[in-house]
């Protein structure tokens, strides 16, 4: 098995996968809202990383770089989904569960409400919010993972919180159709 050196470590691919599989999968899952698709995207993320990694600078900061690939991979999946939706003959595979039921609080606990609200947010804001709250990223790290200027992170997080609040409250009050 190939080994890769970074400034932090000398890694085998096994070690990288074991170290990052859960945070990356968790992040990707909350971005796309579907387990099966998260499986594929996690696999794609690590495949891309393993292919590119031996060519990367030894000073690569592995964590930020992996999240960047995961973000781009998930975004593209979401964009593809949009394009497929634009093409009416295609069935959408693996759509998120229907969250527009009449009595959401009877169906969902808090965790489900949080996930449902996340799914309704614009993807780029969702990513910023997840990276900040779940992964503990700094503004600078979020800027790198999302490929935006650091000054833009402030705006992203502000919009993300506003959007999340709006959707969560609507779901909490049973207004699932917002």
């Amino acid at each position: 098995m190939a080994r890769v050196e970074t400034k932090e470590h000398t890694w085998s691919f096994d070690q990288i996968y074991d170290e990052y599989k859960t945070p990356i999968y968790n992040y990707v899952y909350h971005l796309v809202g579907d387990r099966e698709q998260a499986d594929d995207l996690t696999q794609d993320t690590f495949l891309k990383a393993f292919r590119a990694l031996p060519k990367m600078d030894a000073n690569l900061k592995l964590s930020a770089w992996l999240y960047r690939i995961a973000t781009n991979t998930a975004y593209d999946a979401l964009r593809r989904r949009k394009l497929i939706a634009w093409m009416p003959w295609q069935d959408l595979d693996h759509e998120p569960a229907d969250v527009e039921s009449a009595d959401p609080q009877e169906i969902y606990g808090t965790t489900e409400l949080v996930r449902a609200a996340l799914r309704r947010m614009p993807a780029q804001y969702r990513a910023a919010l997840l990276l900040y709250t779940q992964e503990g990223f700094s503004y600078s790290e979020i800027a790198q993972a999302l490929n935006i200027a650091e000054s833009g992170v402030k705006m992203y997080l502000s919009r993300a919180r506003q959007s999340f609040r709006e959707h969560y409250r609507a779901l909490e009050q049973g207004g699932g159709n917002t």
């Binding site: 691919f13 031996p54 996930r115 790198q144």
Partner: protein
């Protein structure tokens, strides 16, 4: 401070990312505003909820699939891989996106690579702003009709040459074979009077050309010298294509063509057997008239053939619903089946191009209004689509190509208007969200070669104004090499291996100096100073020799020895040149095509060029192999 303003700042206030003055103002406002305080409380609560979301982990199947996929497609040995600066892997050119000055700090604490530099194969860029270069934009020069005609002729010739490895030569034609076949009226007359009793053809290498609505296979060393490949009841038009050569082979062994008489795609073996009709009417219920073929829709269909790299599938454009909006289809030879890729509801499909690994298909999808064209990446494995770029009128898509790097699939293309290329761009699928600009300006030619720049891929750009930079090579990493400055370059082309570039600098009407640039060392030499543009200079398939005409005499320039030798003259006017495939002993033979379509073989000055019993050679010539 108003509530509206405070609401905008609450998130940053929570994160302690406000300047001291703003922070004090927000704090003051919060003390007296319950509405804003409630929002802040909500933000705190939701942050906590998000942080407490139970993590989900991938099942063991993900690991199993990942590592079995790696095992099936093993990575190169790390010792042989070269590092690149990490910022190469950081996103793309975007005119509206802020720059990322802090990127190297995050991805690399030291921008100096600690391992050795790339020697041969460099990875594709994911872009960095410092690599984005711009050529000064100047207004297109008004060119004379003659110059415009020449540009058009050059563009047509290059279209034939680029991307088709087996094309050996071409003849510049003012009228296409299709026009010849279709005539001036609407009725399409099938070619008649040709016998195909010599089929199947024997094994060996043969070249194919179009004449009078039929494809012909010819050979200088095996019998029959010339035989019609296509059946008598079809009329071949448009862009016919030989399948890609299998590994270790000199040429492909299948051909695809469009029968413009009946409106169907056919595939046929190179020995003339098994002519198969692809079971989808290209124009639906409409009669395939010459007038219809000459519409934009007809042209999209005629130019829509694209073999997959393995030759197992053929992409083509068709309008079986007669909707006026052609769609994209894939024909699979083994099953004789057709699948739709992009139905016509979504726009007009055109220009399909397979990725080097045969997994993806790039194509153009133009909105019904014609104002915008999307470049689409279609993944044949998961049948998903990705819109990678949009081109807005008045610019249109000129050419669409794939990077040779299958590990990081990337599409590169040229756009422009009125025959002038304005932009050359690239997008790395799945890793970039906006295209990255490789070159911008007014170019009379933008020719892509995937072999260029040691396999990275590159564009050869000819400035339309003969500005300070008249010719340059831009690789897919965005690096530019200036090949000529201040010259009136009228034609440039890659050698087949893309190790050399030759170009003509016009001195007066139809007389040019022929230059040759060795891309390995940048050496630029004048091969000859009185070279005609008809016939065009032509490379041998092994890139060892370059044949050109002075108008009176044909010469062969041998690159390795930098020597020139004349070829025996013939009395007829030579309108095109092409090379035979090298013989097993390595010798190359140049074929001379006269303006009447007669063929002469020239092997040197010691013997006169010999007239071959092959005639009517016109248009593009492609090699085939008969197993």
């Amino acid at each position: 401070m108003s509530c509206e303003r405070v609401e905008e700042l609450l998130s940053a206030y929570l994160d302690e990312m406000l300047a001291p003055g703003e922070r004090r103002s927000v704090a003051t406002h919060l003390r007296k505003c319950q509405h804003c305080q409630t929002i802040l409380d909500d933000y705190r609560r939701f942050d906590a909820l998000l942080a407490q979301l139970p993590p989900v982990s991938p099942g063991p199947a993900v690991r199993q699939k990942l590592f079995s996929s790696l095992a099936q497609n093993p990575l190169p040995v790390t010792d042989e891989l070269q590092p690149i600066p990490a910022d190469r892997y950081i996103d793309s050119y975007s005119p509206t996106r802020p720059s990322l000055p802090s990127l190297p700090d995050v991805f690399s604490s030291n921008t100096t690579p600690t391992r050795r530099q790339p020697a041969l194969r460099r990875p594709l860029p994911i872009g960095s702003n410092d690599l984005t270069r711009k050529v000064p934009v100047v207004a297109p020069r008004k060119s004379s009709v003659g110059q415009r005609a020449l540009l058009g002729v050059i563009a047509a010739a290059l279209l034939l040459a680029v991307g088709i490895g087996s094309i050996m030569g071409w003849q510049l034609m003012s009228a296409t074979q299709q026009q010849r076949a279709t005539g001036s009226g609407n009725a399409i007359t099938p070619p008649a009077g040709y016998s195909s009793t010599t089929l199947p053809l024997p094994a060996g290498n043969r070249f194919v050309f179009l004449h009078a609505g039929a494809l012909w296979s010819a050979s200088t060393d095996t019998s029959p010298a010339q035989a019609r490949l296509t059946p008598p009841n079809v009329t071949v038009g448009g862009r016919w294509l030989v399948s890609p050569a299998a590994p270790g082979q000199a040429a492909g062994d299948m051909l695809a063509y469009i029968d413009i008489q009946h409106g169907y795609v056919h595939v046929i073996r190179s020995d003339g057997q098994n002519d198969t009709v692809v079971p989808l009417p290209l124009l639906g219920s409409r009669a395939p008239t010459a007038a219809l073929w000459q519409t934009a829709e007809g042209q999209a269909i005629l130019n829509g053939l694209s073999w997959s790299p393995s030759g197992a599938q053929l992409a083509f454009v068709a309008d079986p619903q007669s909707s006026g909006k052609p769609a994209l289809y894939i024909y699979t030879l083994s099953s004789n089946s057709v699948q739709v890729v992009a139905p016509s509801q979504n726009g007009v499909a055109a220009m399909p191009v397979w990725s080097p690994d045969g997994i993806r298909l790039a194509f153009a999808l133009t909105e019904a209004t014609g104002t915008a064209t999307q470049i689409i990446d279609y993944n044949t494995r998961d049948k998903s689509f990705l819109a990678v770029a949009t081109i807005n009128a008045p610019d249109t898509l000129f050419s669409l190509n794939w990077s040779p790097d299958v590990a990081l699939p990337a599409i590169t293309w040229s756009t422009g208007s009125d025959g002038i290329v304005h932009r050359v761009e690239i997008v790395v699928i799945d890793m970039m969200h906006t295209p990255r600009l490789l070159a911008q300006g007014n170019f009379s030619q933008a020719i892509y070669a995937s072999e260029a720049n040691n396999g990275v891929g590159g564009w050869l750009l000819v400035d339309a104004q003969s500005g300070p930079i008249s010719l340059e090579d831009v690789n897919l990493v965005g690096e530019s090499s200036i090949l000529a400055r201040g010259h009136a370059v009228t034609l440039a082309q890659w050698s087949p291996d893309a190790d050399f570039v030759d170009y003509l600098v016009t001195t007066n009407a139809n007389i040019s100096a022929l230059h040759l640039v060795n891309l390995a060392n940048g050496e630029n030499r004048v091969v000859a100073d009185t070279v005609a543009s008809t016939p065009l200079p032509v490379w041998s398939t092994d890139s060892h020799r370059l044949a050109y005409s002075t108008g009176q005499q044909i010469y062969i320039y041998t690159v390795a020895s930098a020597s020139t030798s004349p070829v025996s003259s013939i009395t007829a006017t030579v309108s095109a040149l092409f090379w035979l495939l090298p013989s097993p002993s390595g010798t190359s033979t140049l074929l001379l095509v006269t303006s009447q379509g007669m063929l002469y073989a020239a092997s040197g000055t010691s013997q006169p060029a010999s007239k071959l019993s092959i005639d009517n050679v016109q248009g593009s010539v492609q090699w085939t192999q008969i197993p």
